[in-house]
Symmetry: D2
Subunit: 394 residues, 4 copies
């Protein structure tokens, strides 16, 4: 896919959610120059990435899918009221949001939504992939985009049972051809992206690109994919503290955590089945960094916290000759305000990878993820250095 | 200096303090195999350092200076009662401690102690250097040591006024020759080490090797030096959190800290003049990592905490478009139990540097220090990689 | 029950557990005067209670039941190693513990233990009550005790299904007569105490005196009972913070808590069925103090913490015109060291109540409990004032 | 002073500060019914006070003095931007604030401001008292108020040296008559209030009513006075936690605290001389509740925190036989939003006291203060009960 324009499309699955809205509104605000120095949180604006020739933020065009129809501007008002974005931004970006509305497609009732399919859906998977791919292609054509990258920012799905159709590309294709319905919405989204010639990045821990057959599809299509499950809070901190304990040879005995969060994300994760996806990817990193460690991780829904998240972690470790010590931290962050700039970073980086012909997993994006595709490195600073090295190599 | 033995001497200035006693007793306990897997906290025992050919722990021999005369075994009992070291170790290492006693020299009344000179001292600096160097040489000869490294673990001195005699090696030598008294105890200790052919590492933020002329002395003598101010708690954590904020482009607005500590160290730092040395080196790293950041650091003496230290840090940072967020951490550690293995690490590493002919500052030891000599890198993980690379290169 | 001696018996169900062992060893240590001013935590030693004529600590005699046979002295060694009790106490109280051993009865295999009966038990409830009551009576006779109080400090039972036999004293008696097995161990313990003429206090949230018929039995026997579920940590703090928010008209929106604990208690509570009893009584107080409040309470087993408990609580509240604010606290306590003096307090107070002819629930003991029998007051300071008033009235 | 109106005047010294503005705007918002259930934080709206016949909030009329001239509406905008008050309130209360502007008097250059006099002032104290009293009387007449109470919410003054003129009412009067200048602004404010027939309450720890002669003046005038230093955060929490430790006989060894605050209050308290007043009154309560306790209290100015305050406290205590334990809490509150409703409470309660002829200190207001005038009770819940009892007695 390539247009004669210099603009890059960002296709968001879950385009009316908090993260997507913050991303779209924030990019617009930056374009208007309203928050000059305040581009805080954009990794790709750091000096280390200056020479990478990444697409400028103001050359990004947004479109996407969602199951709900709440106008972006309504969503933005709620985010501003909740302290996620500054007052005044509504006026600044109103026209931009209205423009993006034209590129948002509501998922049809007979399809399963990217947020986890409904019981009522009856359309064959092959048909859903076809329709969604058409939506992305139309978006690309309409704006004459040189590249499109798709990012999944929909709510976390429950774990999905996998069988041979998910492991073998031939079986997957024939099951599609037979009109079977065997894929979760996130995997349909990934396939649709690949069909439309777009890179795909999963910001969530949903199934999407986990099945081997889905990854093979991307490779056959000559496209890159990346993910999963962006680290924006507790896990981000863990990914620097755990290497600290390792580097100092301090044995970690137990690491316990409690996450309090409100908002739509909190409500979804309050459902134990959805939380399971989350916890699995949260714990993977710690185990790789420290080996087996005692302790549980809780995710509690606290409605009053809105888009804010409070995480408390408690670590028991020992020093010389086994003397027990403890460390605690409390992180009070706004998930959407932490996530949105990363979505922009990922879009820019994936577009660069795609344009430079990178095919398959993008391990150099591990810096962003709890469960990095194609990499077992979980130490944040080493991941940063890997990313910077890759960008310099572009 | 070189004996026909395979043993390495560790000469401790402040040899009867908590850190020194924990180091000596801990090394003895490891020698007895009493705490097998519990060698927690020994960085140089990590796989990354296995190929470095470092001197084994059981080949280290301890000696040192102190102004007080409390027997090591008494000190050890207090440390065990305070939970720094495990019950039972007293019996295990009693004989070892008794043996080390023979190698501990009490600083004479007419000298200034390594812990900050007394008013009564009247001996010329040149004479103090000569005596202390003799003590180290006798120690080396007595045990036929192949190498000796000196480590300053005495209490932190107050900042010391410097003049041209501290900057110019010629002026320093002539002032010494004239019998002047113009050097703090920590610098006398460094010069004594160099005179005796020993490497010198400062575990504290005292003056010691800060004066340029002292460093030139080491270079002339063909010896390495390192330091300063080991990071064992709050600063250790800062050195991974600050790079995390930087790597994620999260702007840090304020970083405040309160350190509560008891023990002798706490009492010394309760004196604002001594705390000044500490705070200066504590803040250096943060500024290098994050630029100018608001916030104060307090060091409070809380007698009841004994050898334990509690640090609380509070960070105000902002994400996308300036949204304010906070992070707090509480570190509850036992300083001596964190410091002692680092003293062993530094002794092994400095001995290796010395034997391989390294001269001058040892920037690869930055991993251990708040204010690393010869380096401006403060990110812990990068410091670790530098150290591991140096050891592999040996 | 009354002897010609001035001593009071304390019969502990769960007599070889951490709380019981700490209680017995601590009382012995106080008797030896080894910890003079260190009687910290004994409420009944405060000046407000001086005039109450309570039995002196050194006039308490201990006996009890347990399912395990670990000698007290072994248990004590573990508690000392875990930092619950000071080193040196083992020697001081060795003889006392040996003496108490003679008054500890191991629950027979065919009975159900106070810690929650086994599947294999086959003895009729009536027979268990008879045996256990005999044990208490023998203890009283052997020592010519003027009074005995029984305290349940066994592990928390899972919730127990109740039917009409638990509600109606007549039905309960006839079910016993028919040889039925329908009572949990804790209720058998309560009935055995009443049969032996002893007051009964439940330190745990187990079923024991919850059934109405059990309470009627006590009233018929003219004996007092009290409980349940001692507040020693998180709930203790809640019982002063919640009234603070109320008194200041600050609306509490959410109160979340995570409790990390090791030891036997932690392992039991890691079983969700047992935790259910605990959580129910934990939440009762908060609801009574603040009305319906959002938020969950977790109890996690972290083996490494041993007898220590760390609780983290997070409160979201609002001030004027709805401005959201937060408060967090971390409590790091040693449960057994907090609980043991309360067992002594409860023994002294219940003995006084019993001797003064108090019959039925003891609401003035609410100060000690999460779920106070006969009282809906949960504000700690008001509970304290009620207790002090009752003692003065004695 | 008494009008034929049913309204009560509230004269604020420091009328354009954060607390005053929040008070005035909040009262107006409540009057408009805009925040129905959101009257959180108004103690006098609790059921316990319903029968007290206190003046309704919508019958309060505001006026006051200040040294600065920033319009209330500007100040309000800053408070709304800082998250102290909800967006939308500016429009709701614009007219009310404009009306209050007419009753705000700017302190003349030749007077000393309530915020701590300037060097340039040259007017005799007697003249300042006369002018300020006239301002209050005009306010009362203009609105035909039945009662006026004055509340000092100006910035905390530095401690002020006192001599015999402050201790003896006769000497004070003659010094005034001689045209001497020997009183700090806060004491001039108190005398002016008494001259105008108004009760005086000090929300701050400034000198105001501390001098005995000032109190005698109030008594001669037949007026009540109260204060000092409202407890809105850290000290509020201390005043329930300290009694908890006492009631449980848990020995507190050390209590350390760090307060981070921005805003004007933070800047003032960053000046050690001003902080001294604050710390003195902060520590008084703890000492009365717990006896001598180790530990320091820090107040740090962190500009980024704006009107928000973060306090971290660390308590070392011991349980049975001396086992050491710790508790920490972090309070993140908005001082103005916590203080404003208390100003309304104090105005209503003082007006009631004044109208019922109460003369001199008002010890029943101790509930609100760190350093309560006329009372040594510091336990919050007992203070609450005292207050409720007094109101019921009205």
């Amino acid at each position: 896919m390539s247009g004669n324009d210099d603009r890059v499309g960002v296709w968001l699955f879950g385009a009316r959610g908090s993260v997507a809205t913050t991303t779209i509104a924030g990019a617009a605000a930056l374009r208007h120059g309203g928050y000059g120095a305040a581009s805080a949180g954009l990794v790709t604006e750091l000096p280390d990435f200056a020479a990478g020739g990444l697409v400028p933020i103001d050359r990004l065009v947004f479109g996407g899918h969602d199951v709900v129809e709440t106008p972006l501007v309504k969503r933005l008002e709620r985010l501003v009221a909740g302290g996620v974005l500054p007052h005044g931004i509504e006026t600044l970006v109103a026209a931009d949001l209205a423009a993006v509305e034209a590129d948002l497609v509501t998922v049809r009732e007979d399809e399963r939504g990217p947020a986890g399919g409904g019981a009522a859906d009856s359309t064959a998977d092959v048909e859903v992939v076809r329709r969604w791919a058409d939506d992305i292609r139309s978006f690309a054509d309409r704006h004459r985009l040189r590249t499109v990258v798709a990012v999944n920012v929909a709510s976390t799905e429950a774990p999905y049972p996998l069988d041979d159709r998910h492991r073998d590309l031939g079986l997957l294709r024939s099951a599609l051809d037979r009109g079977e319905r065997f894929l979760p919405a996130s995997s349909l989204a990934a396939l649709a992206a690949f069909e439309a010639g777009a890179a795909f990045v999963d910001f969530t821990p949903s199934t999407s690109i986990r099945p081997r057959a889905v990854r093979h599809w991307a490779v056959e299509a000559g496209l890159p994919f990346g993910g999963q499950d962006a680290k924006t809070g507790e896990t981000l901190v863990k990914s620097v503290l755990a290497p600290m304990f390792s580097a100092r040879a301090l044995k970690v005995h137990a690491w316990s955590g409690t996450n309090l969060l409100g908002g739509g994300d909190g409500a979804t994760l309050a459902d134990p089945r959805h939380a399971e996806s989350k916890n699995t990817s949260k714990e993977r990193g710690l185990a790789e960094l420290l080996g087996e460690v005692d302790g549980e991780v809780h995710i509690d829904y606290v409605e009053e916290l809105g888009d804010w998240k409070t995480a408390w972690d408690h670590v028991v470790f020992s020093g010389f000759l086994g003397t027990r010590m403890t460390m605690q931290f409390t992180w009070q962050g706004c998930d959407s305000a932490l996530a949105a700039p990363l979505v922009l970073d990922l879009a820019r980086l994936s577009a660069a990878a795609s344009e430079r012909g990178h095919v398959g997993a993008m391990p150099f994006l591990g810096f962003f993820f709890k469960d990095p595709v194609g990499s077992t490195e979980h130490a944040l600073l080493r991941q940063y250095d890997d990313l910077a090295r890759w960008v310099r190599g572009c």
